[in-house]
């Protein structure tokens, strides 16, 4: 594999959809169907990821104690 092939992969989408995308991106900043698809996938995947885990009980108490001592929390 070349360096370029390692960085990118090919996916299949229906040709009519690809044609619609081609129409859609005319006159926009997107240089190709691939660039547009990458953009849309990044947008979707970022909102789709699971929420973070909470702090442990001890950490949480220690944090609140400092926030109270500095006057950030009542």
């Amino acid at each position: 594999m070349t360096e370029e092939e390692k960085k990118y992969t090919t996916i299949s989408i229906p040709t009519p959809l690809a044609n619609k995308v081609k129409e859609r991106i005319k006159g926009t900043g997107f240089s190709s169907v691939s660039a547009y698809t990458t953009y849309v996938l990044r947008q979707i995947i970022s909102t789709d990821e699971p929420k973070e885990e909470a702090f442990s009980k001890e950490d949480e108490e220690r944090i609140k104690e400092r926030l109270r001592s500095l006057g950030y929390l009542d």
């Binding site: 900043g29 953009y39 849309v40 990044r42 947008q43 995947i45 970022s46 909102t47 990821e49 699971p50 929420k51 973070e52 885990e53 702090f55 950490d59 949480e60 944090i63 609140k64 400092r66 926030l67 500095l70 950030y72 929390l73």
Partner: protein
């Protein structure tokens, strides 16, 4: 609450037991002295300000960020966080990073890579002109970079520790306040009425406001950190609802990277738990290297950044409207009076208080009463 960048808040501070063990063996490790800017970066990595980074960039991440503004795993990132090292540092060893002689962190060197510094500068700053302060900093590097996870042994000795909040702390704080949306405002100046206007315009649409002065290496002529904090305390006390504002500092060593630095600043605030960041004209810019709105435009390239910019083109006082305005809301562009640093300098040098339209009297009085306002 917004997720940390990359999905998980990083904590690379050593546990008590780990710390003891590492301190015990630190004397046998290769030792590297780091300056205050690097020490801030170590502190930021360890406390999660730079999540998802767990250490300094590997060669893969460095090349990827220079090439396409993303870490190898596709996470957006614009300004490399690197540790340049002398030839004596080898891959596979543990090294101890010292600041002011004190061991600050241990780093497991996973790889050592070289990079052309001219290319580095052009990729990050869009120029290799040595007059650019970011380029000048890169020029001082060795060009040999060590990548690997760090473990923090001793925290950086932060100035004004009573105002310093780590991401774990701001996140708990925002949650306790019931804030879901929080807008961050980065500053290096005491507030004039224009700043207040921008912050309050943004706060109108969010639950909370984080006023986040930058603490770090300053240039001669910059305002002293203490003055910035004191003036903001006065402003918040007299003109802001207490339950809507948090004033805390962040360690930032400026690169003056304009648009790319705006993205890094946004990532840092996202890790603090902010959903929005105010980006003004020529954010983090210097000289004429960047267009005035490049730092607004660049956000369009990151649909997956999650934190969103509130962009302001300009703001000024309009005597005809009788209020602070921006170019979108006022037609009297010939009458506008710009808020300026010169006004503050006149206040300091000539003892003249600016008008109420320009600066709150409580704020002006703080500055007027101080002897050392600027960094020498």
């Amino acid at each position: 609450m917004i997720r940390p960048h990359g999905g998980r808040l990083i904590d690379r501070t050593a546990s008590d037991r780990e710390r003891e063990a590492l301190l015990g063996s630190a004397d046998e490790m290769t030792s590297l002295d780091v300056h205050s800017g690097k020490a801030s970066e170590i502190q930021n990595i360890a406390t999660g300000v730079y999540s998802p980074l767990e250490g300094f960039f590997s060669g893969g991440d460095l090349e990827s960020v220079l090439d396409r503004m993303r870490l190898e795993d596709d996470t957006p990132w614009t300004i490399p966080i690197v540790l340049d090292v002398p030839k004596s540092v080898k891959a596979g060893e543990d090294i101890v990073l010292r600041h002011d002689g004190k061991p600050m962190a241990v780093m497991n060197v996973e790889d050592v890579h070289t990079s052309d510094l001219g290319r580095y500068s052009r990729a990050v700053f869009g120029t290799d002109d040595p007059q650019h302060p970011g380029v000048a900093k890169v020029k001082e590097m060795t060009g040999r970079f060590a990548g690997g996870r760090i473990t923090l042994l001793n925290e950086y000795d932060v100035p004004f520790p009573e105002f310093y909040l780590r991401p774990s702390e701001t996140r708990v704080l925002f949650r306790e306040k019931g804030w879901e949306t929080v807008v961050a405002f980065q500053t290096r100046n005491p507030p004039h009425v224009g700043h207040e206007y921008v912050q309050k315009a943004a706060l109108t649409f969010t639950d909370g406001l984080l006023i986040n002065p930058v603490i770090g290496k300053k240039k001669s002529g910059d305002f002293q950190d203490g003055i910035i904090l004191k003036t903001y305390q006065k402003l918040v006390e007299h003109y802001y609802p207490k339950d809507r504002v948090v004033l805390s500092t962040l360690l930032i060593d400026m690169w003056y990277g304009g648009p790319k630095e705006a993205i890094l600043h946004a990532i840092m605030r996202k890790n603090l738990g902010c959903t929005h960041i105010i980006i003004g004209r020529d954010h983090a810019g210097v000289g004429k290297y960047y267009g005035p709105f490049d730092a607004h435009e660049i956000f369009k390239q990151f649909p997956d950044l999650e934190i969103e910019p509130f962009t302001f083109r300009s703001f000024a006082y309009c005597p005809r409207c009788g209020s602070p305005v921006n170019d979108k809301i006022c037609p009297h562009d010939k009458d506008l009076i710009n808020y300026s640093g010169t006004m503050v300098r006149a206040l300091v040098n000539e003892g003249k208080l600016p008008s109420r339209e320009m600066m709150r009297p409580e704020v002006a009085e703080v500055i007027a009463a101080e002897k050392d306002v600027f960094v020498e």
